[in-house]
């Protein structure tokens, strides 16, 4: 009976995720344009590793990782403030979480205008006397990646704030009160009591943020920059799409997908190890 009930889920996942993963492994060792398959073997991986564009793409992924701590620390600060029951905190919480419901397509479209030559950011820069660094952010490789990174940070604020608020709600207020009575200031209480007790939640938000940075930005990049200028904002996940569906190299695309999976599995295992080491 139990077996029968679990069969639909098992079949669906096997047919549409399990088998395709094995196929991807096979395709990755072929030269294949969707019609003709030529078996090459594991040397396809060497070929990709020798391709400078591949390393350029990984560099973009690595640079986007720099956004992760920011995307965690800002929400941590926001949550700490909201947790003090600032006037209207529940309304703020709803507002901050709202972008979670909005698609990357929509966010990307607004972001593209925000970072444009005549966009809001440049107007703000001019207004505060920083007109000198005004630029068309999306037309430079590094500035475009910066724009994508900033948009990514913005979009993670809601999710991470909610995670930390949930975490703070699990902390016994008596602990913080005791420290306050002993004369500890708000910052010290946060550093020595609240933050250590939040460790599990910080780890969780770290994982969510890293996974989003690696696998959740396709639509944003598609709409905002199209991966460019050049390969300036092409991340690995976007490169999979570009290689397979824009250039028609299905074999290489599958190979890149396999590498992405390996990276995700390594991150997943690292997280497991972190969580285990606590107990």
């Amino acid at each position: 009976m139990g077996f029968v009930l679990s069969l639909p889920a098992f079949t669906l996942v096997t047919l549409l995720l399990g088998i395709p993963i094995i196929q991807a492994g096979y395709y990755s060792m072929t030269d294949w344009d969707g019609l003709n398959t030529i078996w090459i073997g594991p040397s396809t991986y060497l070929r990709v590793f020798k391709n400078p564009i591949f390393w350029r793409v990984l560099e973009n992924n690595a640079l986007l990782m720099l956004a992760v701590p920011v995307a965690i620390l800002i929400p941590l600060g926001i949550a700490a403030i909201l947790h003090e029951r600032v006037y209207g905190w529940w309304l703020f919480r709803s507002i901050y979480f709202l972008p979670t419901a909005v698609s990357w397509v929509v966010i990307g479209m607004v972001a593209a205008r925000f970072f444009a030559r005549d966009g809001t950011l440049n107007q703000i820069l001019a207004a505060i006397g920083l007109g000198g660094i005004q630029t068309d952010f999306l037309s430079g490789e590094r500035t475009a990646l910066l724009a994508v990174g900033l948009t990514f940070i913005w979009s993670m604020i809601g999710t991470n704030t909610i995670i930390f608020l949930t975490g703070m709600a699990t902390i016994d207020p008596a602990l913080q009160e005791a420290a306050r009575v002993d004369g500890a200031g708000a910052l010290r209480i946060f550093r020595h009591i609240t933050f250590p007790l939040l460790k599990r939640f910080v780890q969780f938000s770290f994982i969510i943020t890293v996974i989003s940075a690696f696998t959740g930005l396709f639509s944003l990049i598609f709409v905002m920059t199209g991966g460019g200028p050049g390969y300036g904002t092409t991340t690995l996940e976007f490169f999979v799409y570009q290689t397979a569906f824009a250039q028609g190299a299905f074999g290489t695309g599958a190979l890149l997908g396999v590498i992405l999976l390996v990276i995700m599995v390594i991150i997943g295992l690292a997280q497991l190890k972190l969580l285990r080491s606590d107990d």
Binding site: L16, I19, V110, I163, F222
Partner: protein, 289 residues
């Protein structure tokens, strides 16, 4: 006017902590203002979309004036009605499959364990790690082979498969929380396992099911990649895909794009506003013990 009386009275009667109190109040005001600034940053895109959609392209460029022209032009650029319907169809079909398979499997893994059930459970959960980009090429080839790229079902199947692992995780966790006695009582009363599942377990799992529905609705409604590849028939495009394609195309009328963006965002935002609680519980369910 009336506010000043009690405030003055309190200050007069309680002189010693006055200084600290005032500093506390100043601090609270500062924190409140900081939160207002963050709120402005978070709401900016919504304001930008609304404000810009109420201009013509010329008014947008010049930065002054308002008009409803862009809204009346919207439907000629983007078939909003049919694309919203497509989004709805794809969401409903995918979510129906996800809810069905994850409820059944969750109940089995929690209450009807069999010899290999832990292994099967772990296999399904492990699939959460698979990024959609890693399976998308083989999945595309397979779906093309069975001729589903020009129907809704290709995309629906992929969405369902991608949503199932986490939904199964949520449902299993929820059913585990139901007391075993409840199930046993049903069996003693002569209901078979099938009816215990349908009449006792399923009605009790409504909160978890709502969480699954809300999470998946927002995810599928907002998706671009799967829809872009697996809905080859232009008439079947979802609104998010329609908009995504439009944004890279020839249409450079920004106010019209913003009007379209607003329309596409509204359903998911409404779902969010109504079911916020469930979305939060689904998000934090992954943290575990």
């Amino acid at each position: 006017m009336t506010m000043t009386v009690p405030r003055g009275a309190r200050a007069g009667s309680d002189v010693a902590p006055r200084k600290g109190q005032r500093r506390g109040r100043g601090r609270r005001v500062a924190l409140f203002l900081a939160m207002v600034v963050v709120a402005v940053v978070m709401l900016y895109p919504f304001w930008f979309m609304i404000n810009t959609s109420l201009k013509t392209q010329d008014q947008y460029v010049s930065g002054s004036g308002h008009s409803l022209t862009s809204w009346s032009k919207l439907t000629s650029v983007l078939p909003v009605g049919s694309q919203l319907t497509n989004s709805m169809i794809v969401c409903v079909l995918s979510i129906a499959i996800i809810v069905f398979v994850s409820s059944c499997a969750g109940f089995a893994f929690a209450k009807l364990r069999y010899r290999a059930s832990t292994l099967v459970f772990l296999g399904i959960i492990a699939a959460m790690l698979i990024p959609m980009q890693s399976i998308i090429i083989p999945a595309y080839v397979n779906i093309a082979k069975v001729d589903l790229l020009t129907t809704y079902f290709g995309a629906v199947l992929v969405y369902a498969a991608l949503g199932t692992p986490f939904a199964t995780f949520l449902m299993t966790a929820y059913y585990r929380g139901l007391p075993d006695e409840l199930i046993e009582a049903g069996i003693i009363d002569g209901l078979g396992y099938g009816r215990v599942f349908l009449r006792i377990a399923v009605p009790m799992s409504v909160p978890a099911v709502v969480t699954v529905i809300v999470l998946q609705f927002i995810q599928i409604w907002d998706d671009l990649l799967i829809g872009l590849l697996f809905l080859q028939n232009t008439d079947q495009r979802t609104i998010t895909v329609g908009l995504g394609v439009l944004s890279t195309g020839r249409v450079t009328d920004i106010p019209v794009l913003m009007a379209g963006s607003l329309v596409s965002a509204i359903p998911a935002v409404i779902v969010y506003l109504v079911f916020q609680r469930y979305l939060i519980s689904g998000l934090t369910a992954g943290i575990g013990k």
